[in-house]
Symmetry: C2
């Protein structure tokens, strides 16, 4: 597989970096054509499956993928296409919806922690603990001090998982307001997609600048062990390609190995 | 998509039917060639994905797929190929391993129940509550009366899920002793597959007739709402094809529908 030549670090939020999302492109194509990108995606999918088999066999590390985006930002599409390349036996996807009464009766990380991936597994958070500093903050369900404390708790929580062998990669799928409008309209125009449309999404859309501020604060939790990537997501093919590239690179860095066996294969006779 | 002409009911265990596994073919090809079968599998995969999207959107029913087999029987391969056709966002796979101390401190269905799929989802049990009347019975960890009671508990438990809208389909992947030998040997011969080989598998293999009896008893739990299918599984391509055919038929019978929307799409204007 040829190197893409993409500079993956240019999409990464560095520890301590202050992010102004207005400065981050939503429509990047990495200098590639769509045809080239889609072809490369197939290769990356095979590479992901190969690396995942080693992760599963090794059974010492875990990979946690956090997906955050505005409505219609492409979380589900990313799961379908990128995560779909993995062997489903080694993947667990957690969809975090509005907390139940039981969940609300605990600290905000209680339900999250219960879904942390075990060794050998790829865990995917489709929405995550970051909702607790996004939607709640925008709607003023928590005050600014609580939001600040929560970001500290998230930092500590992710360090806990990291110390136990879980690599965390966090993606913010970054779309423009125009792209969101087009995607929401497409849902309205297609009866088979009506079920994906919520009237409430329009209220959230009206809070675009407030969400921008909340995301910019959330992105400050980028660390070496649990980095945030801002993924230009107006082009679905480029979003899928870039997320796949970053996951391949991450798994290569984790470098999982087939375990040593405790038997001598040559001496075993199967009756 | 052309009908396959396969009589799926010929692989189904009828309620009350007594099964002698020796009478069930392990090497069937359904009268198809491999090339034809593999081509057809791709069509079925698309059909599965389409039906699953409706199940997810409807959010009223669930599908629970139970996979049981002897070692190297093809559970993982079935998950990878057949379940891999679904959108991973709507699938949850539960691998039941040796129970933990906490799990053993509860009734045998406690950990199983916790993994039951919610509405809209496809749940896959890779091994299941049936292990509690298989491995435990063969190794005489439970007596015959306990095994008989457990089968009754399983029957009641599956009826509970069924009444709540969960369709259950149970597959026994049926391989011959010769096929198992070949597959275990292949794991020994390939260093990249050593991690899949357990010396303990040979001890289980030596108990082949005891497992046959235990499976035959487990298959008596076949009901209209939670049927068992005995899948000829010596040929991987045919196993994948037949399981896919049965899942398509099951989902078609469930007939999930996109939900009615509570809005009039024509009147909504996106700012």
């Amino acid at each position: 597989m040829l190197p893409s030549g993409m500079n993956l670090d240019s999409y990464r939020v560095m520890p301590g970096q202050s992010v102004q999302l207005a400065d981050w492109n939503t429509n990047d194509d990495g200098g590639l054509g769509k045809k080239e990108g889609v072809g490369r995606l197939a290769d990356l999918g095979e590479r992901l499956a190969t690396l995942q088999e080693r992760l599963y066999a090794e059974n010492k590390q875990a990979l946690l993928i956090v997906l955050q985006a505005r409505d219609a930002g492409g979380k589900d599409g990313t799961v379908k296409t990128v995560i779909g390349a993995f062997n489903p036996n080694g993947v667990r996807i957690s969809n975090f919806k509005v907390p139940t009464e039981e969940e609300r009766a605990h600290d905000f990380l209680w339900r999250i922690h219960a879904q942390a991936p075990r060794t050998g597994m790829v865990g995917v958070f489709n929405r995550s603990h970051y909702e607790d500093v996004l939607v709640t903050r925008v709607h003023r369900l928590i005050d600014e001090e609580t939001a600040r404390r929560r970001l500290e708790h998230i930092h500590a929580f992710e360090a806990l998982l990291s110390d136990a062998g879980t690599r965390i990669v966090k993606f913010y799928l970054h779309i423009s307001p125009e792209e969101q409008k087009g995607r929401l309209q497409a849902r309205l125009d297609n009866p088979a997609k009506h079920w994906k449309f919520n009237v409430g999404d329009l209220e959230e859309r009206a809070l675009w600048p407030e969400y921008t501020s909340a995301y910019e604060a959330a992105l400050t939790t980028s660390t070496t062990q649990a980095p945030w990537f801002v993924i230009p997501a107006d082009r679905k093919w480029f979003r899928n390609l870039l997320v796949s590239e970053i996951l391949v690179k991450t798994l290569e860095e984790m470098n999982p190995q087939f375990p040593q066996t405790s038997f001598d294969a040559g001496t075993i006779h199967i009756e």
